[in-house]
């Protein structure tokens, strides 16, 4: 019972997502109209760790928590790439993870998107030129959005995913968690 009284006392802690436009998010391939209509409201995400230091993973874990709550946007994590629509890739792709990453991408059904998270995913970060690194993520699989940062904040990753889905910037919809754009600029 203490659990439930604590739950009731805490209340909703989800923060609305601020509409900041950043240079940290790079859109490479815009989503096409058909995929946009298919993946409009429900997106299953499969996270792939292609050799990262797990800094990005810790931030991604925050996405599913109460504060950033990605489920309110219709996003949820899945275990199998067969169930997934979007691959969330982190890490400089190490030599050992190059083939598995490619296989994961091939196992995902169309239409699919790839969001690469972290500096390592775009430029291999501090692991550039290492003997164990095969290349950045877009050398292995086609990437739609890069989110820079080491590690990027969960809110940033969330914005990156929404950019990939072309749901950002959208009309201010406080019900879905977006802050009023006018209010922020003031």
């Amino acid at each position: 019972m203490r659990l439930f009284s604590k739950i009731l006392r805490t209340g909703l802690v989800t923060r609305p997502l601020a509409p900041r436009h950043d240079e940290a998010i790079h859109l490479i391939n815009a989503i096409d109209a058909r995929s946009r209509s298919v993946l409009g409201r429900a997106v299953a995400i499969r996270e792939v760790d292609a050799g990262s230091c797990n800094g990005c993973e810790i931030e991604i874990t925050g996405l599913a928590g109460p504060v950033y709550d990605m489920e309110r946007f219709g996003l949820h994590f899945v275990a199998s790439p067969r169930h997934a629509d979007l691959l969330l890739v982190t890490g400089p792709v190490t030599v050992n993870m190059a083939v598995p990453l490619r296989k994961t991408w091939e196992a995902t059904p169309d239409p699919k998107l790839v969001v690469a998270v972290g500096d390592c995913a775009r430029t291999c970060g501090v692991f550039r030129e290492s003997y164990a690194v095969a290349g950045s993520v877009d050398a292995i699989i086609p990437v739609d959005v890069f989110v820079d940062g080491c590690p990027p904040e969960p809110a940033e990753i969330l914005r990156g995913i929404l950019v990939a889905l072309d749901r950002w910037p959208s009309r201010p919809r406080p019900a879905l968690g977006f802050e009023d754009a006018e209010a922020t600029r003031r």
């Binding site: 993870m97 083939v99 598995p100 990453l101 296989k103 994961t104 196992a107 059904p109 169309d110």
Partner: protein, 675 residues
Amino acid sequence: MNAGGAEIWLRILLVAFPIGAVAALVVRGALGRAIVAAAAAVGSAAGFALAAMVLGWGEPVRGSFAFPLAPLVFRLDPLGAFFLVVTAIVGFAASLYSFGYGAGSPWRVLRTTGVNLNLLLLGLSLQVMADSPLTFLLVWELMSLAAYFLVLAEPDEPGAVNAATWYFGVTHAGFAALFAMFFLWSGGALTASFVELRAVPLDGALRDAVFLLALVGFGTKAGIIPLHIWLPRAHPVAPSHASALMSGVVLKMGVYGLVRVTFDLLGSGPAWWGMLVLALGTVSALLGVLYALMQHDLKRLLAYHSIENIGIIFMGLGAALLFRTYDLPLLSALALAAALYHTLNHACFKALLFLGAGAVVRATHTRNIEELGGLIRRMPRTAFAFLIGSAAISTLPPLNGFASEWLLFQSLLGGARIPAQSVAVLMPVGVGLLALSSGLAAACFVKAFGITFLAIPRSPHAEAAEEAPRSMQAGMFLLVAACVGLGLGPAFVVPLLGRLIARLPGLEPAIGLHAANGALTGLPDGLGQMSPPAVALGLVAVAVVVAVVLRALAPPFRLRRGATWGCGRLLQTPRMQYTATSFAEPLRRVFAQLYRPTEDLTVEVHPDSEYFVRAIRYESRVHPWVERLLYQPLLAMVRGAGRRVRQMQAGSVHLYLAYMCAALVVLLFVARWLP
């Protein structure tokens, strides 16, 4: 009733099987196989026609043969005709199958199989017609010997001779029990007909003794626990169509005998009769399926499932006995109808499964499931037939396993009406354990079908497998049709069973068992009903509607082939699949107290350092404790007695003469002093 018509079929039956037996000895090659198969098929068809006539008209057919010792009397009444139908269906399918199965077998195997198949079918057909103890016992012996030689047909199979010896020993122990029973009952007059036996008044203790001897004698043939010891050894080693006949029909002769004795001839008895049979049935059902789960020999798995289904049939018989004791004839008839229906259904789907297993073994030369896999691509029709058989034995609607199990559930639910509270409370336990055994059977057949047929082949044998020849497929698909037909048509079978049960003394109200509008009713006042054809129709209709709606409304369907998802591993080998042992492991853990598995782990290390492991060997066994507790002490006793008796055979002629003299003196005394 056209007695002449029935006579013709009987004559064809009596002629066809011996022709087949003789042809097996004389004619070689494909022609020989064809004649043997055709003769067996014609005989089975004649049996079916004969049985259909008797069941249809409801009047028995009589016949007798003068034999040197005493006349053999035969009488086929509707109860016997029902079991003759069982024999005929399975016999016909097995005959068709035997033509293709024998191709490539050596001559001595074909000869033994052909002769004994026909003799076995003859024995099974005549068994249900036997009308006096002498006839019964003679035909019983014929049947047992034919089955014994079939078990020995392929003597090079590992364990064949051991299995045959066990079979011989146990079946003759049963024969001794039956002989003692008939002797006690008829007071030595073994040529009296069954009608006369029915009229013999037996007092309490003698009746109980007769019942127990019947239970032991017929139980050894039927294979209930603890008299089942020969079943898991004998059925796997026989040729597959013989295994199908043995599992499908020979076991049912035990059921036939028990039904004939306790329901027809002996009359009503005390409550403990029913409770004993019910308890034995429940134990057999549960232990049978639990041991089947741990098997990796495909045919031995099927043999243990036969024990389970015989247990289910015995549960129905026990419930029927119990209801009869408490004067609830309609419920008793329902339980007996459920048991008889399950007899027919089990014969069909078990024979189908054995024929399928035989096709697999013939194509891959191994009975071990762990070496199979991927056969659904290489043997698609066999796989389909095996799938239907698996679904039927797992009691999935709308197939036949579900229809008879539904009836059994309904009759056990009626146990709430038993006035004795202490007995009535045991019925729900029986219901629960019956449901558990059917759930475990489903789990076991997911394993059996899934590991054998699905995914990738686990050995080169399985990769090289080829589809079975047409004659074998024909036998299997005949049984598939039987399973589906019996599943959809209980509306025909149940009234038939009702009519034949109504002829049994004390169960006349069984005539009230009817089916309305194709629906199966549990209790005749219309409550508790279901209609398998409607269920099947419903499933088909929903499937059609779903397909149409999806075609109309859903986006166009696109399919792409890719590798199995394995977390990005580089390649997939057959060893990365699930094995049968792993599949059964959760259940093994759950029932560990019962199985008491033994585990052996041997780790071989490099002589210079124990950190470098050369080989690891793991072995785990599940020994049925029934064998350890019951049979090993028994065997030890028999061996000890044998050793002591051997001491008497010193080899000296003088000692033997002395023995004979002593025996003569004793006999003279006995003859002089006894009245």
